[in-house]
Point group: C2
Chain length 243, copies 2
Amino acid sequence: MSSSRPRRTHDTDARPSRGIPEATVARLPVYLRALTALSERGIATASSEELARAAGVNSAKLRKDLSYLGSYGTRGVGYDVEYLRYQIAREIGLTQDWPVIIVGIGNLGHALANYSGFVSRGFGIVGLLDADPAKVGERVGDHVVRAYSELEDVVREYNVSIGIIATPASAAQEVCDRMVAAGITSVLNFAPVVLNVPPGVDVRKVDLSTELQILAYHEQRKALSARLTKVDGVPAERSSVAP
Amino acid sequence: MSSSRPRRTHDTDARPSRGIPEATVARLPVYLRALTALSERGIATASSEELARAAGVNSAKLRKDLSYLGSYGTRGVGYDVEYLRYQIAREIGLTQDWPVIIVGIGNLGHALANYSGFVSRGFGIVGLLDADPAKVGERVGDHVVRAYSELEDVVREYNVSIGIIATPASAAQEVCDRMVAAGITSVLNFAPVVLNVPPGVDVRKVDLSTELQILAYHEQRKALSARLTKVDGVPAERSSVAP
DNA sequence: TAGATTGTTAATCGATTAACAATC
DNA sequence: TAGATTGTTAATCGATTAACAATC
């Protein structure tokens, strides 16, 4: 993809904040959470082995991941929990607070609006919007639901770049288009549709029934191999015995 | 990992239902949804190109994915929407209904209990459980919240193998342990903790603030490259000019 | 110094993609 | 038959893992 783009031949920057692999980026929040948990338990230093256990990964992967950020550990000792926590938070961009809006204040929107995890992790809800006039004015958590028509005003007022879509599937694309037109460049989508966005806009999808379906696939296979084990005594592996 | 395990040398089974790559399994639900949408629009046949567009992937990937299931298309023509839909549903295991329970009926539990997407996609909620006596007996959607202590009863009665955890982080591991002890072998976890489970139990995690943090990371980088573009005119790419 | 643990290398594995022969 | 499109091959890319030299 970018193979035709020339590599930089000299780089005076000791900490390459560029080029962190996506798989690593997706794990940084997990490490951050593990470090916060260790910190709350009063633990000042942790080895890659301990940290990895807390994060549910193996230590080789953790060390490789952290190496993309820089050298924040001490050989023979481990990592300073607070220091590493700060470095990861800075890398992700959580040393600032991100204003977010939620569009669609149904059951899920309610749950998201009340979710304390957002605020505690560097995000601030600055607007709840719904197209249903019956919902406008309703109090949800610390907020009052505003009219969907005020989307542009809210985005401008708070300089919002992250939007959450919690509408029915039928409305999601139009909400997304309007968010993007208003200047939002990152979208977290809970509606079960594939959103089309212009280049430069990031979309992440949380799909509840997809997750269950993936589990169902594996359940089915467990049931299948259990049945085959009973029949011909071959565990786990599917056998192909000619009749 | 399994490189020491002997490969089957002969396989009389035309459709290898084994060995579908995880990345493919994770996309099958997306294809299923795209096919359902096409079906509802009255479209009987679709090419890999059309299907791929509806699913938000490229057509090479879609064809490769489908090839793991078998040869369900017709060269020169495309795929029969209904037929392919059925084949994918069967592969995932959605030709049967999966009973699920939800533990933790807070805001999120409410939202999940009311989410129609579960039922319409092959899952049936057979129990809502909460440890808070004040919540027991409460009506949520079609269900009445039962006491957490009844977990084993519900799992046995409905032969439940999939459990959803929507409790606070502090309770999640103990709920998970109890689910597993009761016979559940697949867990969908909404609590922001890493769950420890014995081998043979699958866990999938939906982590709301992790998703936002990943978006924040990319937002930060967009803001950074925009600023650098203004300063020295190098777009997108971070430059490392000596001062 | 001896012991411990990081940061990095290199091998391996799995996923993606383009291209095209097979075939409807 | 000619045109279209699948199913598969092979090349490429990115992620994971084990091993260990560097170093506290």
